[in-house]
């Protein structure tokens, strides 16, 4: 990097400008990543946190795909699943998003109905007793021992625990029996639930589906059954993807112009005996250095800003994967863009350094 390093310092203005673009794009990507992860967590954490590897939904009518809103599985289904070989657990879970109230406070919550002895809720649920996630308790301003109403149901707060959230609403864990009553406004209390959380070990899933009349997805595959999740996550990921592509193209364009500007110097170096790999290494090192500094600064800024907005109501996840993965992708794609532009060094003819043409 003898020449490249000195070029970098000599043309600091140009590299600073390009570095600033890298910083800003990285900042944007970093914030978007934190926000995407934060929104996703609000949308799916109660599902991904279930002690299960698969979820069985009621088989949808032809042409429709499974959804948490439309699924309704009868007791027969989870009994059937529990008897399938290779299925170690089959727990019914009722899920319903509705209004909760305590005193003069109201909030949208997701009521998750589970069997009291299933150990799925982060506390002990029982008929008439609910476990609230922290956010639900905060929004309703209730503490353990307090009273709340979920739909038509009068409940007492047994415990406040966990951060589970589903479809952007905090989770209230209730007993399945209670859940079945709110599900039907107290009129009928069929033994039913929304999905069956399965823990399997080499089970024949399609045979189980056949027997139980269900359609089973992996937990990750089930996330698309949350109506808003796919659209929301998809568009955020698309934006992030575009930013990556844009930065690679911008960096590629910069280094294309830069390499063309330098081609006379490159011809001289080649005529003096510089091997092409030496020149490529030099130029790529320069690009990676600029990228690393720019991305580092952008990521640092994103962390600082993220720490601020996380304090407020904005869902924002600030952890190593959300911060570092986009930074590494930026560097990798930027280096790729630079490498493609720098490649033209190979084609520079040292003969042009000779004559008086330049």
């Amino acid at each position: 990097m003898f020449v490249a390093w000195r070029d970098l310092r000599f043309a600091k203005g140009r590299f600073a400008l390009m570095g600033a673009v890298v910083v800003l794009i990285t900042l944007l990507v970093g914030l978007l990543s934190g926000l995407t992860a934060g929104l996703a967590r609000e949308n799916i954490s109660a599902i991904t946190g279930l002690p299960a590897d698969r979820l069985a939904f009621a088989a949808p009518p032809d042409g429709q795909s499974v959804s948490f809103t439309n699924s309704r599985v009868p007791e027969r289904a989870w009994d059937t699943w529990a008897r399938q070989p290779g299925v170690t657990r089959a727990e019914p879970i009722g899920i319903r998003t509705l209004n909760a109230a305590a005193g003069d406070r109201t909030a949208g919550v997701s009521a998750f109905g589970v069997e009291p002895d299933a150990g799925i809720a982060p506390g002990h649920v029982a008929p008439g007793r609910a476990v609230l996630s922290e956010k639900a308790a905060k929004e309703l301003a209730v503490e353990p021992g307090g009273a709340l109403r979920v739909g038509t149901l009068e409940l007492r707060v047994e415990a406040v625990a966990g951060e589970d959230s589903f479809s952007h609403t905090p989770v209230v864990w209730v007993s399945l029996d209670d859940w079945q009553r709110i599900g039907h406004r107290g009129t009928s209390a069929d033994e039913q639930a929304t999905v069956i959380a399965l823990t399997t070990q080499g089970a024949d899933i399609s045979a189980g589906d056949e027997a139980a009349g269900t359609e089973t997805r992996t937990v990750d595959g089930a996330l698309t059954a949350i109506g808003s999740y796919q659209a929301e996550n998809g568009s955020l990921q698309l934006m992030r993807g575009f930013l990556f592509v844009i930065s690679a193209l911008v960096i590629g364009a910069f280094f294309t112009v830069w390499t063309i500007q330098r081609s006379a110097d490159i011809a001289v170096l080649k005529a003096l005996g510089a091997a092409t790999p030496y020149l490529l290494r030099d130029a790529l090192g320069q690009a990676v250095l600029m990228l690393a500094v720019g991305t580092g600064a952008g990521t640092g800024l994103a962390v600082v800003i993220g720490a601020f907005i996380r304090g407020g109501d904005v869902p924002f996840v600030l952890d190593a994967p959300t911060v570092l993965v986009p930074a590494l992708v930026m560097i990798a794609l930027g280096a790729l863009g630079a490498a493609l532009s720098i490649r033209r060094i190979t084609a520079v003819d040292p003969l042009t350094a000779l004559g008086s043409a330049r």
């Binding site: 003898f2 020449v3 001289v268 005529a271 003096l272 510089a274 091997a275 000779l354 330049r358």
Partner: protein
């Protein structure tokens, strides 16, 4: 013989046919001597230097640089040969804009995989030899044309080349500075024992040369030493 061209013919593509830039050219340059090449524009002088520098491969003929026949060399081997055996003094100084005079010389060692710091003293010594003691930390835009040309010459000598190829070094300079550059080249040729080929337009340079050859239409004629 330090530089040997034997029956070298070089053609360039020229539309449908080919243009003969060098036509059966033979030349021998012993170490420590200077050969001057004169001739009108377009006669093939720069092409001759390009062939000697292994920047182009001739259609026919043999080029031997410091005992190494060049025809069978790979591109990487040719680069290495240029790095260590050949010094080129370009017509335009062709200095790298971001580097100081010292660094212009140090880079030659770096190209060859050596630490620039280790050759700093040698770079300073060469800059002293070309009379630039007080310009060692200047960048090209802070130097005059003649000073740049001196750096250009010092750079060519940095890796102790056996062959020194010089293409019209004084064309950008006034007469007085041109004469000083020529004196410098003659002195360095004698001191450092290079086989020097000097392409020039300036008749005044010829008196100093050990042999003078004239080019016309790609052919090299013998001329008596002036």
């Amino acid at each position: 013989m330090t530089l040997l061209l034997d029956a070298v013919t070089l053609t360039y593509p020229d539309g449908d046919s080919r243009l003969t830039a060098l036509d059966d050219v033979s030349l021998e340059v012993p170490a420590g001597t200077m050969t001057a090449i004169v001739g009108p524009s377009g006669s093939g002088k720069s092409s001759l230097l390009a062939v000697a520098a292994t920047l182009v491969t001739p259609d026919r003929g043999r080029v031997v640089v410091d005992g190494t026949p060049t025809r069978e060399l790979s591109p990487a081997q040719k680069s290495a040969l240029r790095r260590v055996r050949v010094g080129i003094v370009f017509q335009q100084p062709n200095l790298l804009p971001a580097l100081t005079s010292t660094e212009q010389l140090q880079v030659m060692a770096h190209l060859d995989g050596r630490k620039p710091r280790q050759v700093r003293a040698r770079a300073r010594e060469l800059l002293h030899a070309v009379g630039l003691d007080d310009k060692v930390d200047r960048r090209p835009h802070q130097l005059s044309g003649g000073q740049r040309q001196r750096v250009n010459i010092a750079r060519a000598l940095m890796n102790e080349p056996a062959v020194l190829l010089v293409d019209e070094p004084t064309s950008a300079l006034d007469h007085e500075r041109g004469a000083a550059i020529l004196d410098l080249l003659v002195r360095l040729t004698r001191e450092r024992g290079t086989a020097t080929v000097l392409v020039t337009h300036d008749r005044a340079h010829l008196a100093e040369a050990d042999q003078v050859r004239a080019m016309a239409d790609g052919r090299l004629d013998t001329q008596a030493p002036a």
